[in-house]
């Protein structure tokens, strides 16, 4: 996976720096607390949440357990509907396929729907190197792109920026990329959104090639689904003549009916809405409506390696709702950039080291970027037991053992020179240096299943034999959460 942020320090160092950034912390706290409270309401509205969550988990698990069959079925149905399917084993191959497809059209620019998969493979940079300009069209991605910045949240990538910063970025950078920002632009969100509307409309209307990801792919029918709010997705999916979708192989659901589960759980978990403003589905091509040519690039890039790990494979159930980010006390303080990958927060802490392996210092440190409080598991709409995978990956990093890399079984050596353990200790020290984070971690632990024993079970036993696990404090997690409003006494932001 080439999505490592180049030169990114390991988590503890990056987090340390982020914690010192007051603007970032204030923006993040406001944002995560607002979404968190709204999500709880949206979830409370449906009385069968537990059943929907269980169904979502089982659909995804079943699909993953038979992924070969569903991939072949998907390929057949997409092809039958007029689409063209490509397979990409890694980031380089996916980028090459997309670049070649764009070149075949004779175009040198593309409009893009926000997509984690294309960020993961570094598509924009790869296209740039081939002389193709990729325009991000999601407002937040536009802010990130114009600011020569990196996304810091799955759903609201510019969550770390406030309105004043955004105004300055627009005023300074828009003219470089196309229509300049209007004279005298103020920092009201409505005016900023309007500036983005005018700037991007010019691009949509002339675009010949669109690039997207997808939230779901239906094996039975060959249908792709994109869930969004702004309408930039619809623009990119319907106005261009050619559409190229790059989608991770884990995004399959078996049948059309399965969407009834995820179209209920995804919006409520992510933007805390009953339904997001726009959902588009398309099956191959339709005469006279939308792109005449449709390419689907199926992306592996570490997913099959993740699939090979019986504990870790559950990370592939993720529907990228970002609920786990918004409840994570570590994410709230450290910010998304500290995770050094396009997948920040708790899901990033288990997904990135699996997709990329734990060879680098940042990846080896990611399984420690958590207080194991369990809040991420509680909110996850597909019930990924993130704490379980974190503990599993920690053992892997420290003890070594069999893993699959690029399809081959290899035996991971115990962390060389205890580098990973050093990273772990630095992560711990980081937490101990920050009373707020430590307090949160300790108190949250009181109610979690996994930290009650003083030693770890199974292969972790040896590791924990010489180390004390944190003592469990008396106050239960829920009480603490209620009393302090999730780690802060500031009541003002939640609504």
């Amino acid at each position: 996976m080439s999505g490592t942020f180049v030169g990114m320090p390991a988590f503890p160092k990056a987090a340390h720096e982020a914690v010192g950034n007051q603007t970032l912390r204030a923006n993040l706290r406001h944002a995560t607390h607002t979404i968190r409270a709204k999500r709880a309401n949206a979830v409370a509205e449906v009385s069968d949440w537990a059943e929907l969550r269980e169904a979502g988990k089982r659909i995804k698990d079943h699909t993953l357990r038979h992924l070969d069959r569903y991939l072949v079925q998907l390929e057949e149905s997409v092809t039958a509907a007029g689409g063209i399917v490509h397979w990409a084993a890694d980031a380089d191959e996916a980028n090459r396929i997309v670049a070649d497809l764009v070149k075949e059209t004779g175009e040198s620019e593309v409009v893009k729907v926000k997509s984690m998969a294309t960020q993961e493979i570094g598509l924009n940079e790869a296209l740039e190197a081939e002389g193709i300009r990729a325009y991000e069209t999601d407002l937040a991605e536009l802010i990130v792109q114009l600011g020569k910045d990196r996304p810091s949240h799955i759903l609201v990538p510019a969550i770390h920026r406030n309105r004043g910063e955004i105004r300055d970025i627009f005023t300074r950078e828009m003219s470089e990329w196309g229509r300049p920002a209007p004279e005298g632009l103020t920092d009201t969100p409505a005016e900023l959104a309007d500036a983005a509307r005018l700037h991007l409309r010019e691009k949509f209307l002339r675009a010949k090639v669109g690039v997207s990801g997808a939230n779901f792919m239906v094996a039975e029918t060959g249908t792709l689904v994109v869930v969004e709010s702004e309408g930039n997705g619809r623009m990119c999916l319907t106005l261009p003549e050619t559409l190229i979708s790059v989608v991770g192989i884990e995004k399959i659901v078996p049948t059309w009916r399965d969407l009834e589960v995820f179209l209920q759980t995804l919006p409520r978990s992510s933007t805390a809405e009953r339904m997001n403003p726009y959902t588009s589905t398309w099956t191959g091509t339709t005469d006279g409506d939308g792109p005449g040519t449709f390419h689907l690039v199926l992306l592996d890039n570490g997913r099959t390696d993740t699939l090979a790990d019986e504990v870790g494979r559950q990370a592939l159930r993720c529907i990228r709702c970002s609920a786990c980010l918004n409840v994570c006390p570590v994410y709230e303080r450290a910010g998304g950039h500290a995770y050094g990958s396009v997948y920040p927060g708790p899901i990033g802490a288990i997904l990135s080291p699996q997709l990329r392996g734990t060879a680098s210092e940042i990846d080896a440190s990611l399984p420690y970027a958590s207080s194991l409080c369990g809040a991420c598991y509680e909110v996850c709409p597909v019930a990924i037991d993130i704490p379980e995978v974190l503990v599993h990956l920690r053992e892997r990093v420290v003890q070594g053992g069999p893993v699959t890399r690029e399809g081959n079984k290899v035996v991971l050596k115990p962390a060389k020179g205890h580098g990973a353990e050093r990273a772990a200790m630095r992560a711990a020290r980081w937490a101990f240096d920050r009373p707020g984070a430590l307090r949160a971690g300790q108190r949250l632990a009181s109610r979690t299943r996994r930290l009650h024993p003083r030693t770890l079970p199974g292969p972790g036993k040896a590791w924990s034999a010489t180390r004390d696990l944190p003592a469990v404090p008396a106050e239960p997690f829920r009480d603490w959460w209620q009393r302090t409003n999730g780690g802060t006494t500031d009541e003002g932001t939640a609504k």
Partner: protein, 213 residues
């Protein structure tokens, strides 16, 4: 070896632990979640649709079938719409009283042409009460996906109660996945700037829904 074979091979090796007789799809998922949330009369379901549409800042109107032409004419006048885009199969009688010049949804009409149109009027395929969603399926009275996207003002006519369902599961049952579908819940919106909700950015900034029946 092609990448297709390589990836499929990796998947199969990764799943070596999964037994041949693993639980089949039909039994793997308990569908014990609800088909709809709560019991409502037909009229209450329509009420809920109206409420949830309004909650997401769509402007909702209700009228009888005979009043539809005058309501449409009034909404277009209020909007000062000089041009209105109509899909090929839209009932002509609907716009009989409207002054705005009709623009046909032609194959050749490019995006720039659509951008100059003031308003668009369409029917819908189904509406979901619990979520406040209208779904368009590209049928002759709804037109291509782009016509409800580029103009800034969309008026959608929903026939009640026959086009209204309670829930997302019921909506999916009625829809044909082979057709391109657009699910719309309120106008285009963004919360990307400090999570303040702003209508617009790209899709129509005003969505009006007329519940007819």
């Amino acid at each position: 070896m092609s990448s297709r074979e390589r990836i499929l091979g990796r998947v199969r090796r990764a799943l070596a632990d999964v037994p041949q007789d693993d639980t089949p799809y039909g039994e793997a998922v308990a569908r014990d979640y609800l088909r709809e949330h709560g019991a409502r009369s037909t009229e209450e379901t329509v009420e809920l649709l109206a409420e949830n549409l309004a909650d997401y800042r769509a402007v909702v109107h209700r009228c009888g079938a005979d009043e539809l032409p005058s309501v449409l004419a009034r909404l277009l006048t209020e909007r000062k719409a000089a041009t209105v885009l109509v899909p090929p199969g839209l009932d002509e009688a609907w716009l009989a009283e409207a002054d705005a010049a009709r623009v046909a949804d032609r194959m050749e009409s490019g995006a720039h042409e659509l951008d100059r149109v003031d308003s668009v009027v369409t029917a819908c395929a189904v509406a979901v009460a619990e979520t406040g969603t209208i779904v368009l399926d590209g049928g002759p009275d709804q037109g291509r996906r782009r016509i409800t996207l580029v103009p800034d003002h969309h008026i959608c006519v929903v026939r009640v109660p026959e086009q209204v369902v309670s829930s997302v599961p019921q909506a999916l049952e009625r829809l044909d996945p082979a057709r391109p579908l657009t699910w719309i819940s309120g106008p285009s919106a963004t919360s990307d700037i400090e999570l303040d909700r702003v209508e617009g950015v790209h899709g129509p900034r005003t969505l009006e829904v007329i519940l007819v029946g």
